[in-house]
Amino acid sequence: MIPQSFEYSAPTSLAEALALLADGSAKALAGGMSLIPLMKLRLAAPEHVVDLGRIPGLSYIREDSGAIHIGAMTTHYELESSELLRRRCPLLAEAASNIGDVQVRNMGTIGGSVAHADPAADYPASLMALEAKVRLIRSGGERTLPLEEFIVDTMTTALEPGELIAEVIVPVEALGTGVSYQKMVHPASGFAVVGIAARVRRTNGKVGFARIGVTGVAAKAFRALSAEQALAGGGDINAAAARVADGVEANSDLYASAEYRMHMARIYAGRALRRAMGVA
């Protein structure tokens, strides 16, 4: 279908883009993998679209004092194929390689995905497990928020009108950390019915550090704190995996009921943890 008519701006500098977006009435366009289909179906009808695609300098992956900074316009393909990321933060590269299909990964961007905050997107599980931060910019200022605070609810973020995501910041993985992202794929959409990201570190044979991020299960991605505690407290993988959806109100749709989703979350948590601990 053809979208409703809209004004289109393609600024070539960030300052120009922020000025166009300042009053909050225009919609920012990154890779367009969510916004364009919605516009073509006329479910979204923004009056003014500001295309960020011609602004130089928003696509990068670089390491700086213990952290990896990823520019908002970096595509999923650039993330999955980044040698730096594969070596220094493999969990995020693995998550990127699980998104949609090749076409989507070539167009879609990490900034666009995170700003859209789909409750079943792949990145948030890994970004939660990585305790990632997002740096936001607006005309004349910036702020940095933990992802956990940035994602407020289903498709709702802490982005203020006129604000853009500048970059996503993840830590450089410490030596000896095992990671894995395990996803049950929705056959039609490619989104995660359930997606579990795990990071585990062992000291003297025992798990001393565990981070588990969950996507697809609830209204927004979350960290499975009770499962993390169970694992770090000396519990085995199965006991920890059983607690991955503790206290969570699960989503339900035609494909997967809430009960089924909870069950699958436990199964996939077991898989992710076994992989991360190298005992799969």
Binding site: L43, A44, A117, P119, M155, T156, E249
Partner: protein
């Protein structure tokens, strides 16, 4: 689709029941509610603007309240439609006192059709719960 949930409102069941039947309060707390008008006994006409992510839809419809058991429970019938689809809902709200507050449980059946259901099936349950959660959050603030 079945939908259920539980929210706590920090007032007595009497006050909560009264608030849940008060068109002025409902209009104020319903996210995106543009217009709510009484068109008959226990029947209201409503216009609502739903904006989630970049999706925006204008819905118009009717709400009917039946089977009232004051301070205990009532049934809510919703029938709405807009350019992007339609919605029919039938829900039972039960109020249970709990430690100087009231637990409101809803159990219902929702049917969503049209474009929004075709492409957004995956997100209907999540979105419905999101709107209900927003409603009860504002209601809790409003009645205090």
């Amino acid at each position: 689709m079945k939908i259920d949930g539980l929210h706590t409102v920090p007032v007595s069941p009497e006050r909560a029941y009264e608030a849940l039947q008060d068109p002025a309060i409902l209009a104020k707390c319903m996210p995106g509610c543009d217009h709510l008008e009484r068109i008959g006994p226990d029947e209201y006409e409503m216009k609502m603007k739903v904006a989630i992510a970049s999706v925006q839809g204008l819905f118009g419809g009717k709400i009917r309240i039946t089977d009232q058991k004051p301070n205990e429970s009532f049934r809510l019938l919703v029938d709405g439609s807009g350019k992007v689809g339609f919605l029919k809902g039938d829900g039972l709200l039960t109020l249970v006192p709990s430690d100087r507050a009231t637990e409101v449980r809803y159990q219902g059946d929702v049917q969503v059709g049209g474009m929004i259901a075709g492409v957004g099936q995956r997100l209907i349950d999540t979105t419905a719960k999101f709107i209900i959660r927003r409603f009860f959050e504002s209601l809790a603030k409003e009645v205090q």
